[in-house]
Chain length 315, copies 4
Amino acid sequence: MEQLLAQVLAAIEPHRGEGKVADYIPALACADPGKFGIAVAGADGVVHGAGDCDEPFSIQSISKVFTLALALTRVGADLWQRVGREPSGSAFNSIVQLERESGKPRNPLINAGAIATTDALIGDGDGDSAIAGLLAFLRAQAQDDRIAVDEHVAASEAATGSRNRSLAWFMKTYGIIDNEVETALDAYFRQCAIAMSCRQLARAGLFLAFDGRDPVTGEEAIVWHNARRINSVMLLCGHYDNSGEFAYRVGLPGKSGVGGGILAIAPGRGAIAVWSPGLNEFGTSAVGARALEQFVERTGWSVFAGLANPTAGAT
Amino acid sequence: MEQLLAQVLAAIEPHRGEGKVADYIPALACADPGKFGIAVAGADGVVHGAGDCDEPFSIQSISKVFTLALALTRVGADLWQRVGREPSGSAFNSIVQLERESGKPRNPLINAGAIATTDALIGDGDGDSAIAGLLAFLRAQAQDDRIAVDEHVAASEAATGSRNRSLAWFMKTYGIIDNEVETALDAYFRQCAIAMSCRQLARAGLFLAFDGRDPVTGEEAIVWHNARRINSVMLLCGHYDNSGEFAYRVGLPGKSGVGGGILAIAPGRGAIAVWSPGLNEFGTSAVGARALEQFVERTGWSVFAGLANPTAGAT
Amino acid sequence: MEQLLAQVLAAIEPHRGEGKVADYIPALACADPGKFGIAVAGADGVVHGAGDCDEPFSIQSISKVFTLALALTRVGADLWQRVGREPSGSAFNSIVQLERESGKPRNPLINAGAIATTDALIGDGDGDSAIAGLLAFLRAQAQDDRIAVDEHVAASEAATGSRNRSLAWFMKTYGIIDNEVETALDAYFRQCAIAMSCRQLARAGLFLAFDGRDPVTGEEAIVWHNARRINSVMLLCGHYDNSGEFAYRVGLPGKSGVGGGILAIAPGRGAIAVWSPGLNEFGTSAVGARALEQFVERTGWSVFAGLANPTAGAT
Amino acid sequence: MEQLLAQVLAAIEPHRGEGKVADYIPALACADPGKFGIAVAGADGVVHGAGDCDEPFSIQSISKVFTLALALTRVGADLWQRVGREPSGSAFNSIVQLERESGKPRNPLINAGAIATTDALIGDGDGDSAIAGLLAFLRAQAQDDRIAVDEHVAASEAATGSRNRSLAWFMKTYGIIDNEVETALDAYFRQCAIAMSCRQLARAGLFLAFDGRDPVTGEEAIVWHNARRINSVMLLCGHYDNSGEFAYRVGLPGKSGVGGGILAIAPGRGAIAVWSPGLNEFGTSAVGARALEQFVERTGWSVFAGLANPTAGAT
């Protein structure tokens, strides 16, 4: 695996710095576009890494996956009463679909859906407890207590979040949001501001590759059918209106964040995290997606492949 | 497997007749809603069946998968210049997206995309040759020469196809269709009118589960990466605006047709075909989808599952 | 004119109580659907009235016309940089168009446009001054100092205004709103809560029928070209997605409010105000619109008519 | 009036050649962008003209007004069952609205609505009779027998009309079109290809300014209420998504064509026709609209003006 990661690193080398760093908040804008990290957690729990795999970055929308996991555990299938599970066919922050469908977001991985999911996770508790619970979950899965919210980033998000406020108020009109709009938004902005390294992220997502259980300890993080369903939602909706492209090229459930991170899940095999701040036009890490494509081409871990290593000798 | 299919048959028994039979053409309208068939083709090429698995039905949109396979082989990646590969977020026959995106259909499995794909398959040949080639391909894969177009159904489709005509003329405006509109439509209507049984369909789709090769003969039907990509498009777009639901419940690439058939692909394992004429509100066989859900729950063949048989003892 | 108003009153008598009273805030919900008032102010400044023409009601969106008049005077044609002047082709509170057109509302008479116009009227002053200025203007035009904001209604509007909050935050994203969102909304909700009688309203709107001047005093309320342009915007956009119907039936620039009032302008002739709380499906007073149709049929005041009294002897 | 037209001519002189000539068919593409004509028909039936007012041009969409007049006479208010009368809020050839509203076009002046209106005019007759009737009507109103279809233009329209074919087939799906699609389209393309001069056009439209009657002969061309309603539809929908702008600037019911002509109606005063081939981005003659703005500013003929000549001394 170390060797394979070295090959991936070499393959993306000519592309380093591609894409456009998110610039809507200063904390993201000053990220170095030349950075690249990759980490893979396998069935044995060992995490292999390469490049800047130990450098924490803002996971941004990748947090939506973990919030979804906890919210599904907390409220069960009732969550789907207020959030759908279909691809949106539009941008991550589109409000058009909300109007057409009575304020119900298409899925939990677009902004509106993640705000609604965060609201469901808060329930009749408070935002701080919800975020504390999320951090505890991430730390336990990653087996690393250093994972935390970057409150500086959270404050920047809140300060520039007028479009998300618009989405939240729109849903409030339809009763999709139970808590005060600012309560839901505050928790939403904070979860997006969680900082993690590729290494931490790959380990934290490992339970999704093994039906909700940690493959080392055997401990159940979430119930098996929810794990599969989250993978399904990630594959179909994890990259907004670029999800088809990602599935086509990479062939794994994944979730991208505008911080440049991507978490990908290979069911039965492991979890892969990549990070490189330059984004393509849909907000997915350009070099990160390229690295995952290389990784899958070399491992044959695509969920659409018929053989354990189907490309061996085929290319 | 025989025993497992019997269990599925028993599980759907109380639901037989559910859904609404397509009624826009007489040939479909008179289908018996109580019919149900299922067939599974495995790595050894053996096809196991149950229920009405030998009765031919109109495969309708399932044909789009095979047309896509041949068109990709014929024109290669250039196909994606004129057809996208993203979920549409709208109904199978929506024209709204076409206007927003300069006449380029979102994917090859919605009507507009399939018409454009058919046009690409025709190329500078003629429609009859294209359909003859498609039938030859299906017969070879299914190892059954009886597969044919039901010309009566084709004529009915053509007679009621004003909406598809509208889609085709719209694309013609943008140069997405090269041939005469009626040429492309005629071939499109005829492919939709192909009649096959579950048994034939499962066997015909088997190459998609094995990276494009027949697992028995080892013969390459299509190149391996196209097989994966077709699976990807099926999983994300195979059931129009119900694709998320299908992925969530079944967890396999699949394609439904308004004749009540569904073809599902389990990479590395096999191909499953079900048929039952009653449709849900999105045009997918209601009992067929239920049967596939049961089948996957029993086999653990979901692409999102971590274990070979992950549900054993888990439920 | 008294006799003519009596005829109109008689004509609508069988329809009294038709329509559905707005029920989203208690203050409007308890309006008596049987109420009906009409008042006409002519070139001589005399106001003729009939029915409940002296009873104050919540003018709601009719206020948008006066806010537009003052905002145009204040910021001039620059207003059109942030608000368009095209019909919207959609509902009064639609957010879809905002997304399609970068946050710029289609016209100043839909909710989003009126919020943006209110924000422009506030400018770098404060909301209280803006509302005080609006009231002073209305009192001067109506020559009646009793006109005031119903603060109870304003508070109810604010409490239920999540959709308007969503619109405002959306525009804030695009810099269409300069002030704090709550500042603009507070002033917006208060202007909607102004209470006036038909008599006051007809007199207050008279300047619009005479190129911006009070026909009695000759005093200029607004510059002549703005008066014509406001009439134009009223005719094309005054009733949301029912504007075409109103123009077709009544043939006068008009603006409706969900309180059941309608102000109509007959250029060169006078201003007509009607009030009846029952609304049609588009939020326009059902009986009020009917009364205006009767009034125009009897007077020939349609802007589309060729003769002073074109229907005399024609019907 | 002669003097006034000379002033208008002088005012537009610096702008001659502005705009972009329609280039989708050769016959329009080769029009000289420097051409400009204007003609005004008054209550006395006398037509004053200036510039290239005697040169025939392709009236294109202006024909929709006359087709509407005849169709309303033929089928009465039933026409509104299949065509609406609201502004569309979108482009002249948009299909999005058709999908949202079950195939019913928003108004008779967008392409879809005009095709449906043409189909209604044909009724159970044939297309040739419908066009013959339209020509007879135009010749009678214009008192000029030379008005004819330019069959060369009609053939070009037909050859490039795939988008209109798409619209027509879409409506056919919903039963909005009764005749064969090609029958309705053929008549539609031919009416668009009628050639008229400004002088002919102004005279032909005069009945619309006088409640449906020829002001000289007193003869009824159409019933008075239809004349008003057509004016209403022209004012709200006559320039597609630029109607608000035209109403705001010119203040008269009008209809533009991509041939560069505009017909404007001043109720009670007269009809004005202008022609200049260069179009603005919405397909309205740039110089023509400017000329009308100048004309109305000098005559005060705006339907929104309070005084006979309100701008006198006001500018």
